[in-house]
Amino acid sequence: MSDPAIPLIRCRGLTKRFGSLVANDGIDFSVAAGEIHALLGENGAGKSTLVKCLYGLLAPDAGSIEVRGRAVHLADPEQARALGIGMVFQHFSLFEELTVLENIALGTAGARADAALAARVAEVSRIYGLDIEVKRPVWTLSAGERQRIEICRCLLQDPRLIILDEPTSVLTPQEAESLFASLERLASHGAGILFISHKLEEVRRICSAATILRGGKVVGTADPRVETARSLASLMVGEGVSDVRPPPRHERGEALLEVENLTVLPDVVHGMPLSDVNLTVQAGEVVAIAGVAGNGQSEFFSVLSGEGGVVRRGRIRIAGRIVTGSSIGERRRLGAAYVPEARLGHATLPQRTLSENLVLSWHDTEKVGRLALNLRRLKQAVQTIIRRFDVRGPGEDPRAAQLSGGNLQKYIVGREIERKPKLLVVDQPTWGVDARAAALIRQTLVDLSAEGAAVLVITQDLDEAFEISDRIAVLTGGRMHPPVPTRMTDRDAVGMLMTQHHDGRGEAA
């Protein structure tokens, strides 16, 4: 055991620049053994840059990194791993068709998918309570199970420091609990854990220290156990974060989205079929669909937007008109607007400017010009959106890929709001978005419903569902639990519904 006074990792004056942008500015920070240390900050605060430097993915321009008291130069992740630093990324890199064991072997230098590896996996799983079935193909696994593979893969390297990037964003509350138990066990064995999360409640729940970044600098450290979520959020954004203001009382109006007995076959391999889904969203309300990723959310979104899915039975009406076989353009002309989950490559063309990206969802209903795109009008419209939704990025009209997640999401939501839709369907409105942007987006959605639009929000974030919705439905295993008024239910009840009907694909509660 090393001297507990010497931190597992320490950086002094760590600075990383990208052109004129200083992503990390003289960062001093350390993680001790046995500590679960939260790294907090808005998107763009420099969290990912910092952990990439710590994991050898980026080379800092100035400053030093010490691992257990010795100055090191990390040229690549392999070197970081050799020094006992492991990382679990937000997005999994697993092969769907291969088994768990094969995936672990592929991600582990010098390992083969044999009995010896299986035994090591079994031992690691036992010690840290990871519960992994090595023979199952990955495509049969839930997100929580997939994440456990990634964690196991990381633990096989025997790391002293484990970096987790937004690890709970794809987990049910119950799955998150079991992750926390594993993390606590790891920490009690002397490992240090660096935990990046936007969910302040869970940071308070499991972290014993927190470093807060803002604008590339360390603006404070805190003991999350004695702070409130609100005080942590204030540290992150530098000013008070407002709660979403409930709209003034207003009446619900006509049904703008009606889904009747909808049965849909997915058009991608391993997609989730939808069976017999019923749902109505009226003018003036926000309906949230809660559920864990992979339970039919993307399929539901694409059948509502007309982008995909093979409708076997049932129908969809928008503003009273049957649109089951209509294109997304026809639906937009009826007043519908859509915000897909993936910001780059689905909601936007990454290498195009924001003004060019307006064309994607505007060309059916707004005057953008056909023979010659009206670039001047598009540029003006983008400025309006940038001002109204506080979109920050380099230059007047940056390319989509140049924006941080939160700013891009504000732009995408703003682009649809500018069309003054009667029906807005949003898939994961604040996924990977910083606290302030998330608050603004949520407020926008609530305000839109108050102005008489119907808003449907598909979200994995239960807090969000409870914060903004009038009714909550749960999608699980491709089936819809009918919506219930939000104030008549609670997290536990919804969480229980989320874990049912997994049809052998996940862990039944």
Binding site: I328, G345, H346, E356, L360, D364, L371
Partner: protein, 351 residues
């Protein structure tokens, strides 16, 4: 020690501009070294490849004439490639276009009416459109790879032409040579001015360059084409109809290849014969990429490759070089430009 490519974080405008020039220079140096190693005179090589095509009136006109079909076909291919659709069969669409235009010329032989030439051009374009639509149809309807079907249709077109000029369309007075009758003046695309070899097809090609550049850069359709290639999911989200777009880009590339075919047959060849192809449809793929999928770029690239082809023809005589060296040099040029492009976006690192 091994080398690996790592992405650059930013690429300067200057680097983007300089890259093709440097690539061209590198290709020139390598080609020169090869020639020197073969014991050829570099002075004569410079004369035939560079000086003569650029200085003599004959050379300049030849370069422009050869660049015309290359430009037309490449412009069409740019639409397809930008949409990530692979039309490898422009050669076939070119042949079919020439054949259809030729059919009009043969059928109207001796009539000498003013509508013949426009009818030929229209027939060439329409035939190219129809022939180009086949791979698109097969892809949309049956999911057949357009790469394979478009390529294989080249052979169908060539063999069909071969059959026609040996059979039904053969000129009875041609002593059994496989060729059609010589076209009338009314079926011949004439020179722009007396004493020039440059014909009206050159002007047409320039118009196509400008229109295509505008359509690609400014119109909603051009945006849809590029969006489909850049991010198909985003294009689907926009509601751009993937199948219709596939038909459209194949129709455009087929139509322009057909136009190139009929222009070549009418203005330069003056009859139908088995070998109207000359590989323009394949060389145009290189032109499209050398021109970085940009119509103006394609025009420049077509002129450069045309110069290379003309130079090689002279070099056969002057330097006793096999004509296959042309292909090797074209490949070398493409390789250098693509490598240059890769190196603007990535840098070499030792691992």
């Amino acid at each position: 020690m091994a080398l690996a490519l790592a992405p650059r974080r930013s690429v300067s405008r200057l680097r983007q501009v300089l890259t093709p020039l440097v690539a061209f220079l590198v290709a020139l140096i390598v080609a020169g070294s090869v020639l020197a190693a073969m014991g050829k005179s570099l002075k004569i090589a410079a004369e035939v490849y560079i000086v003569e095509p650029l200085t003599s009136s004959w050379g300049v006109q030849e370069v422009i004439l050869k660049a015309t079909p290359l430009t037309l076909i490449a412009i069409g291919l740019i639409f397809a490639i930008r949409a990530n659709r692979w039309n490898i069969g422009a050669e076939g669409q070119y042949v079919i276009g020439g054949m259809a235009g030729g059919a009009v010329a043969i059928a109207t032989h001796g009539m000498g009416a003013p509508w013949i030439l426009p009818a030929m051009l229209a027939a060439g374009v329409l035939a190219g459109v129809a022939y180009g639509a086949l791979p698109a149809l097969l892809r949309n309807r049956f999911g057949i790879s357009e790469i394979l079907s478009s390529l294989m249709l080249v052979y169908v077109a060539e063999l069909l032409l071969d059959y026609l000029v040996r059979g039904p369309w053969r000129d009875p007075k041609a002593y059994n040579f496989p060729k059609s009758v010589n076209f009338d003046a009314a079926a011949t695309l004439g020179p722009i001015a007396e004493g020039l070899k440059l014909h009206w097809g050159v002007v047409l090609a320039l118009v196509v360059v400008v229109v295509a550049a505008l359509v690609l850069a400014r119109s909603l359709f051009g945006f849809a084409v590029s969006a489909t290639g850049e991010a198909p999911r985003a294009a689907n989200f926009a509601g751009f109809n993937d199948r219709r777009l596939t038909m459209q880009v194949f129709a455009i590339s087929g139509g322009l290849a057909g136009l190139a075919g009929v222009i070549e047959v009418s203005a330069n060849i003056g009859q139908l014969q088995p070998s109207i192809g000359q590989g323009y449809g394949f060389t145009a793929i290189i032109v499209a990429f050398l021109g970085r999928l940009n119509p103006m770029g394609a025009l420049v690239a077509a002129l450069a490759l045309s110069m290379l082809i003309i130079g090689s023809e002279t070099a056969q005589v002057m330097l006793k070089l096999p004509f296959d060296m042309t292909r090797a040099f074209m490949g070398l040029l493409l390789l250098c430009v693509l490598a240059g492009e890769a190196l603007t976006r990535f840098r070499l690192v030792r691992t």
